[in-house]
Symmetry: C2
Subunit: 227 residues, 2 copies
């Protein structure tokens, strides 16, 4: 909520009196209307079992692809048909931490404004440009036009992540494609990428979960681009 307020995205705040006085004061301080509501009303407004005493109304946050890729983006995460809001929010948070310039959710992905996604992103939704609802092929074309290589993460990828690191391939501006948590990346999306990449599995696990694979790939790029 503080992130929304700090970013100028908060339009209105509903609050149970006395629960979050500092936040109320901060909202009033920047001219955001604050409406007091009873606990029963809060329970109906909030979509969590244990509401925190405030519900905010924020602007929609998604931006057009062209705006998100303005400047010289060096690291972008693309979620292709990622359905689980918790996963999407976690990847958003990780992309922010890894210093990514933007996150793109293709059509068929969860709405980034979903409450669970917002909470899992821990404020990161307000930190970097988020694009929603573009076709994967259009996103890839735009990313390539901006000079980014497009790497698709899949368990059966042709290139081992560590080999790419050793070869210095991750120094380049890079967009990572991550696929649906159950079905994986679509063949169409893998087909338009410059390379398909597998995170090495050294033990007996069959695969990594989506957010884990994204963390390893995004941090490998972050390190390679800085060292």
């Amino acid at each position: 909520m503080r992130e929304a307020l700090a970013g100028g995205h908060l339009l209105e705040l509903f609050a149970e009196p006395g629960r979050q006085p500092d936040l109320e004061a901060a909202a009033r301080g920047v001219g955001t209307p604050v409406v007091h509501v009873a606990p029963k009303v809060m329970a109906a407004l909030a979509d969590t079992v244990t509401p925190q005493g405030v519900v905010g109304v924020a602007t929609l946050l998604d931006v057009p692809l062209g705006d998100a890729l303005a400047g010289t983006p060096r690291l972008v995460a693309v979620l292709e048909q990622v359905a689980d809001p918790g996963n999407a929010g976690t990847v958003l948070r990780t992309a922010d931490a890894a210093g990514a310039d933007a996150v793109v959710l293709t059509d068929g992905s969860v709405d980034p404004h979903n409450g669970k996604c917002v909470r899992a992103s821990a404020g990161s939704l307000f930190h970097l440009p988020v694009v929603a609802g573009v076709a994967a092929a259009d996103a890839v074309a735009a990313l390539r036009e901006r000079g980014l290589q497009v790497l698709a993460t899949t368990g059966a990828g042709d290139d081992d992540l560590d080999d790419l690191v050793d070869a210095g391939e991750l120094h380049r501006p890079t967009a990572w494609l991550f696929g649906n948590e159950a079905a994986g990346l679509s063949e169409a999306a893998a087909g338009v990428a410059d390379r398909t990449v597998r995170v090495p599995v050294h033990g007996r696990a069959e695969s990594l979960n989506l957010a884990t694979a994204a963390a390893v790939c995004l941090y490998a790029s972050a390190r390679a681009q800085r060292r």
Copy 2:
């Protein structure tokens, strides 16, 4: 379930007739009793909303610390008071994928046999030795005695992960301590480690979530120990 069966951990299988015939046949093939139950009974037995048609009874899996550290362990994950079963299971899966030799859950952590933990581990609970309910100080002492350095992950850690990689410090056998998802690592646990390490945050995120930080650290070690 197949992992439990393959590991010889499955004692008995309750099944709705016709739902998982291959699994039933596999269980019978190794002499595991199969009991047919009606859907209503399955709904009562299973702790998920949409049961998969089978419920297995498995042996307890945790092993004594000394057994888990027998041999020459090179990579171990220690979860200190990690309360969320999904997080614990995800870290188990990641540790397995990174080639870890064991996972230790200190006292105050979630029971690794918790259904959500088992499911989030995606079979990895059956792949590597899991130790439960030891004091963090005892785990650290045992790990150090086996020749592992003990690195504690915390947002305010003294050493930057990338600096340790550059200095070649991650080539050594290493145990990683990861703390509670909300409170972070306890001061006591951070105090007994050889170093406190922070995963760099390049963007505006305040922190990484537990499973993400664990993925980055465990994969940094896996890479350093192999390259």
